[in-house]
Symmetry: C2
Subunit: 186 residues, 2 copies
C-alpha cells in the first residue's frame, strides 16, 4: 500500500541533495522550497502526499500547498491519482530537460523579449533626437548612445537565440550539444 511511505525523516542524502538543489534553484530566481520539495519528490520511489512533504521538510501546510501549486504551474510536478486514497499525491517530472526547457522558454524568454522591445524603443527615440535636434553636442551624445544600445540589443538577441536553441535542442536530445561542447575544449 502506497500510503505507508513513512511520514518520516529524510535520509541524510536526501536532506543534503534537496538542500543543494534548493539553493541552486533559489539562485536561479525561484523559491528555495520549490527546489527542496521537487527534490524530495524526485528522490522518492513513490508519489508523496502533501502531508508527507510537510513532515519531511518541516513546512507548514500552507507552504506545502503553495509550493506544490507553483511547481505544478511550472509543470515540474504532477498530481497523481492513487487507488483508494483520499489525499492527492505528487510526483516529480523526471525528464530534467523538459523541465528546464519549459522554464527557459517561459520565464527567461519573456524577460529577454521585454528587454529587446525596450532597447528598440530607445533606439527609435534616439533616432528622433538625431533628426530633430540642432544642438551638435546633443547629436553626438545621441550617436554614442545609439551605438551602445545597439550593442545591448544585439546581446539580448543573441541571448534569445541561445535560449531558443537550448530549448529546441532539449526537446530532442542533449547529446549533440554535449559533444559539441566537449569538442570546444582547449
Amino acid at each position: 500500500m502506497v500510503g505507508q511511505v513513512k511520514t518520516g525523516v529524510l535520509w541524510p542524502t536526501e536532506a543534503a541533495v534537496s538542500d543543494v538543489v534548493g539553493r541552486l534553484i533559489e539562485f536561479w530566481g525561484f523559491k528555495r522550497n520549490m527546489g527542496r520539495v521537487w527534490t524530495v519528490l524526485y528522490l522518492s520511489p513513490d508519489p508523496l502526499s502533501a502531508e508527507d512533504l510537510r513532515h519531511a521538510l518541516q513546512l507548514s501546510s500552507g507552504a506545502v500547498s503553495m509550493t506544490l501549486s507553483e511547481l505544478s504551474r511550472w509543470g515540474v510536478v504532477r498530481r497523481v491519482w492513487i487507488q483508494g486514497e483520499r489525499k492527492d499525491f505528487y510526483t516529480a517530472e523526471v525528464q530534467l530537460w523538459r523541465m528546464i526547457s519549459r522554464v527557459f522558454n517561459e520565464r527567461e524568454k519573456s524577460e529577454v523579449t521585454a528587454a529587446i522591445v525596450s532597447f528598440e524603443e530607445a533606439l527609435d527615440s534616439l533616432d528622433r533626437i538625431r533628426k530633430t535636434s540642432s544642438d551638435p553636442s546633443m547629436r553626438a551624445r545621441a550617436d554614442l548612445q545609439h551605438a551602445r544600445i545597439t550593442q545591448l540589443l544585439e546581446l539580448a538577441r543573441l541571448g534569445g537565440r541561445l535560449l531558443d536553441a537550448l530549448v529546441s535542442t532539449a526537446k530532442v536530445d542533449a547529446e549533440p550539444l554535449v559533444q559539441f561542447l566537449l569538442g570546444q575544449r582547449p
Copy 2:
C-alpha cells in the same frame, strides 16, 4: 572640461534603458542599482563622478559608494584618473562579452561546482548504504536515488561545460556556438 558633465537629469532614453538593464540584472541575481549605475556609465560619453551618479539616479552617497565598489569587484566598472580633478571618476567596461564571461566564470561556475561536489558526496554515501545495508527495500531505495542523483550530476556537469564553453567562446566570438545551436533545430 570634463567636470562640467551636468549633474543633471537623465534623458528619458537613459532612464528607460538603465531601468531595463537594472531589472534584467536583478533577475540575474545582482542588485538593481548595479545595473542602473553601470548603464548610466555605459551610456555616458565621459567618465562620471560618484556625485554625478548620485544625482542621476537619486541615490544616497553610501549607496553609490557601495554599488561602485561592487561593480569594480566584478570588473565591470573602472576607476579613471582625470587630470586636475580631485574626485574619482568611473567608466563602464564596454566589452560586454568580457564582462559576462567574467560573471559566468566566477559566480555561476562556483555555484555549479559546489553542486557537483555535493552530488558526488551523496553518491558515495549511497554506495556505502548499498554495500552495507541488508534491508532489501533500503537497498532498492538507495539504487533509485543513486540513479536519479546521477542524472542531476550529469546535468550539473553539462551546465558547467556549457558555461566553460560560453566563457572561452566569449573571449573570441560567440557566433560559432550560436550557429551550432541553431543548426540543431528540427
